[in-house]
């Protein structure tokens, strides 16, 4: 293989793939077609989003481009160079930058500047040009002041910017983002996407963005949708998302406004032309015209009645403060709230707002510096306090805590043993443990045949459910879930939220930590907002987004659906913009005025 890296000539096509095939063999010996006869091309400077469920071959397709994997069949040209020619290997790879999902696992350097230097060092860039490139790249992403710091001192968002800087210093022509935004909170995600947009404008870089986020896909020039390694759709975002049926059947989500339009059309029994799904403005126009011309004799649908908040308090937190060191600033201070039976309480806040510190107090992993955390013991009707050592074990029975990415806590040889670890530690008898195990499985949609398998050979989504079952098997009354759906594809996410909804209906109380405002507003009974360790709001979603509350100052975004509803409210003043579920929102648009007139 020639080591030589040649300068690229003028090219117009960044990538041209023809009939690409890639397969890998699994442990069981069978071959899996990860990329199944895919043909596509990407022009210089073009922004292409790649969508598809987990395991649909998105990452593999991307890895073919920078030659991390070799296609088994088909023709691939990158920068108008033949990718199968070994002489072009380093020329192609050195001009493709890739940013991965997990910020921690792609940083090589012990300091920020050394990490940026890693790529150009490998390309034998000499000093002083090397130092200049590092400086420029760090300046571009805004990390110049952090140059001497250790990577561990950076936040998740900063780490991803560092990864971008590392790529920039190699002066790439193609930037591949492999779910790079999926582990970031909304603010960091916006900043990251703005940075990418700036790079495109400044440097005419082509971007290939693998994502699960439909709103991100809308930023692209073109969207490619994969399923089982095959290309299902390849078109502009508005064309792709107008194929509503196909998108749904592929297990992908629609933008909120598209879902609303879809639902309104369904209730009003109207066929909508696919052109209505090309943009939010079009959708709002279409909804307006549907509503204005709706038939008078529509079958009236009523939203499911809401259960009122129970009076029974199962967990209460009073004046809670905590700091990690005597001299350090308080990580959380003066937190006050209660949790009712069968309630979903969402805890919202940016990274570093103290969410993890707060929930670690709820089952006594951390003890309060000031204030109390008390949990109802249902059998005696008395409250247990996390301040008392003797009561900690009982509290852990009542409060099940599931941290972020819980699949990392699996350790046993079989799924059965792993799920039963918790109940056994709680001192239940062998028979009771078995019972609890069997009861927990259906709650997260696992079947019995998974029990004898090793947790490590399961798919990501299944591991997540096993970890979930491990907590449910302890039969807690209160469940604390930290970003339970993070990193899953839309179908996987909806499944998890479905289980949560069912648990609520069984009378479990759920504390849900999330940074997805849309989801939280939709399913939570009440929301607790943390900002820099302080409680800035505690109440219902409706109260949070009403005029009186200054949610802008809390640095929160309105739920996207609410924005659409507010636009529609101008024409239909009776519409309830505080319905955060598209189905209920649609009902309020179609039937809202009837309720007003009838009452």
């Amino acid at each position: 293989m020639a080591d030589e890296i040649r300068a690229l000539g003028n090219f117009e096509q960044a990538v041209e793939g023809e009939d690409l095939v890639f397969s890998y063999s699994t442990n069981t010996g069978s071959d899996v077609l990860a990329v199944d006869h895919v043909s596509f091309s990407i022009k210089r400077g073009e922004y292409v989003a790649v969508l598809g469920r987990n395991g649909s071959g998105k990452s593999t397709l991307a890895k073919l481009i920078n030659l991390l994997e070799y296609a088994d069949g088909g023709k691939l040209r990158v920068f108008e160079l033949d990718a199968s020619d070994d002489d072009n290997f380093w020329t192609i790879r050195s001009h493709c930058g890739m940013v991965f999902q997990n910020p921690d696992n792609q940083i090589v350097g012990t300091t920020v500047e050394e990490d940026v230097a890693f790529g150009p060092e490998n390309l034998s860039v000499p000093l002083p040009e090397l130092a200049q490139r590092v400086q420029k790249a760090l300046g571009y992403v805004g990390l110049l002041e952090m140059a001497d710091r250790q990577p561990s001192a950076l936040s998740g968002g900063q780490k991803q910017k560092l990864a971008i800087a590392g790529v920039l210093a190699m002066q790439p022509e193609i930037l591949i983002l492999d779910e790079s935004t999926s582990m970031l909170d909304p603010k960091a995600r916006d900043e990251f996407l703005q940075l990418v947009a700036r790079m495109r404008a400044d440097k005419r870089i082509s971007v290939i963005h693998i994502t699960h986020d439909m709103h991100e896909a809308f930023l692209a020039d073109r969207v490619i949708v994969l399923e089982h390694g095959q290309m299902r759709l390849c078109d502009t975002p508005s064309e792709v998302f107008s194929q509503v049926e196909v998108i749904r059947s592929l297990g992908l989500e629609l933008p909120k406004w598209a879902e609303l339009l879809w639902e309104v059309a369904r209730i009003c029994e109207v066929e909508v032309d696919k052109s209505a799904f090309t943009s939010e403005e079009k959708a709002i126009e279409t909804i307006t015209s549907i509503l204005k011309n709706k038939k008078a004799d529509l079958k009236k649908e009523m939203p499911a009645p809401r259960t009122p908040l129970s009076e029974k308090v199962v967990l209460r937190v009073n004046g809670l403060s905590h700091s990690y060191g005597k001299k350090e600033k308080k990580a959380i201070s003066d937190i006050n709230f209660d949790v009712r039976e069968g309630e979903i309480l969402a805890v919202i806040g940016h990274s570093g707002s103290g969410k993890t510190t707060l929930i670690s107090h709820l089952n006594g992993i951390l003890r309060p510096l000031e204030g109390q955390v008390e949990v109802l013991d249902a059998s005696t009707g008395e409250f247990l306090s996390t301040a008392k050592n003797a009561e900690i074990k009982k509290i852990r029975k009542h409060v099940g805590l599931l941290f972020q990415y819980p699949e990392h806590q699996l350790f046993e040889e079989t799924v059965e043993k792993d799920i039963m670890f918790g109940p056994k530690k709680m001192g239940y008898s062998e028979e009771r443990c078995k019972e609890l195990l069997m009861e927990s499985l259906p709650l997260v949609g696992l079947s019995e045949d998974v029990l004898s398998r090793s947790p490590f050979e399961l798919s990501g989504g299944q591991k997540r459910r096993v970890a979930f079952a491990g907590i449910l098997a302890m039969d807690p009354d209160v469940l604390v879930l930290d970003e339970p759906a993070a990193g899953l594809d839309p179908v996987g996410q909806n499944e998890i939220f479905g289980y949560i909804q069912q648990l609520k209906e069984k009378g479990k109380s759920i504390i849900l930590v999330s940074h997805d405002m849309d989801k939280a507003a939709m399913i939570a009974d009440r929301i607790l907002v943390l900002k820099k360790g302080e409680q800035v709001f505690f109440g219902t979603p409706r109260e949070l987004f009403s005029e009186k509350t200054d949610f802008v100052r809390m640095r929160l975004d309105r739920p996207l659906l609410m924005n659409t509803m507010l636009s529609l409210k101008k024409e239909f003043p009776y519409a309830d913009e505080f319905e955060f579920d598209y189905k209920r929102a649609a009902l309020s648009l179609v039937f809202g005025n009837e309720e007003v007139s009838s009452s």
Binding site: D3, L68, W90, R93, S94, C96, G97, M98, F100, N102, D104, N105, I107, V108, G109, T110, T111, E113, E114, A117, F118, G119, P120, E121, N122, L123, S124, V125, P126, L127, L130, V134, Q150, P151, S152, G166, V167, M170, Y324, G325, N363, I365, K393, R396, G400, L401, L402, F403, P406, H408, Q409, L410, F411, F421, G422, K424, K425, M426, F456, M474
Partner: protein, 271 residues
């Protein structure tokens, strides 16, 4: 739980010793080892002590901080002292009780050996661990070891391995903390029970930690590939080690200083 782990005992300060090229420090470290071993009289010891004081002064590290590096080996020092005190039977008897005999030679020898160990530890601290970051040290070893490439020792790769290990220590510590919290939530206990129960408790941490470390390693390898890593061949460096005039000067000066105790001792004997 676990927080603030520092690797080695690097003490941040701006001093001659901190700025010195790490290769010079490794060289000087060897020189001082030799000269400390050469000093075997009271006079030479005293002179060595003076030299060490001078190095401490150069390092701008508070004396107490420097002394802290002796703490882990206090027990060994006492052991060496006691062992030599009672096993050396030559010379005049100073004290005896049954089989235990202390002679003047034995006392001298015990003091000498314990003090020598003390000096060695202080020198190691001043020249290496306290004033040199682990990464610089790895750089120095890479550079000094480069002749070994001739006999196919993968020097660059070894240095890369060390630097990645250093990079991932904070990450893995954080991860350990997270896993411990998660398992505690499931009722795992780490600080109760006998040693076997505790060891069993740690299985719940170690297995997930290893699984994740392997996953990280795999992802990191892919990320390094994507950034065109191809081993040490042709790799340039952002901060290459370069000997400046001052480095040469200090090297000569401090080497000369190292031999001062030997010289003093020699002059004393001649007189």
């Amino acid at each position: 739980m676990i927080k603030d782990v520092s690797i080695g005992r690097y003490y941040q300060a701006d001093s001659v010793l901190h700025r010195l090229d790490p290769r010079v420090k490794v060289f000087l470290f060897i020189v001082y080892m030799v000269t400390v071993f050469m000093a075997d009289t009271a006079i030479a010891m005293a002179a060595s002590f003076g030299v060490i004081l001078y190095l401490t002064f150069l390092s701008r590290i508070p004396v107490m901080e420097v002394l802290k590096s002796v703490r882990p080996i206090v027990f060994i020092m006492i052991f060496i002292f006691v062992l030599n005190l009672f096993t050396n039977r030559s010379g005049e008897t100073l004290w005896s009780w049954g089989v235990l005999v202390i002679t003047d030679d034995g006392l001298k020898r015990a003091i000498l050996l314990a003090f020598r160990l003390f000096l060695l530890i202080i020198v190691t601290g001043l020249l290496l661990s306290l004033t040199t970051t682990p990464l610089k040290l790895a750089d120095a070893l890479e550079s000094l070891g480069s002749p070994l490439k001739v006999i196919h020792v993968p020097v660059n790769e070894m240095a890369m391995t060390i630097s990645i290990a250093l990079r991932f220590i904070p990450t893995l510590v954080e991860e350990t903390d997270k896993i411990m919290k998660a398992q505690s939530s499931r009722g795992a206990e780490y600080d109760t029970g006998n040693i076997f129960q505790r060891a069993k408790g740690y299985v719940t941490v170690l297995v997930p930690l290893f699984v994740s470390a392997f996953k990280r390693a795999e992802e990191l390898a892919t990320a390094m590939d994507a950034r065109c890593y191809k081993g040490g061949v042709g790799k340039t460096k952002l901060h290459p080690l370069r000997m400046k005039g001052s480095d040469w000067l200090w090297m000569v000066l401090l080497t000369a200083t190292a031999f001062l105790p030997v010289l003093v001792d020699l002059l004393w004997k001649i007189k």
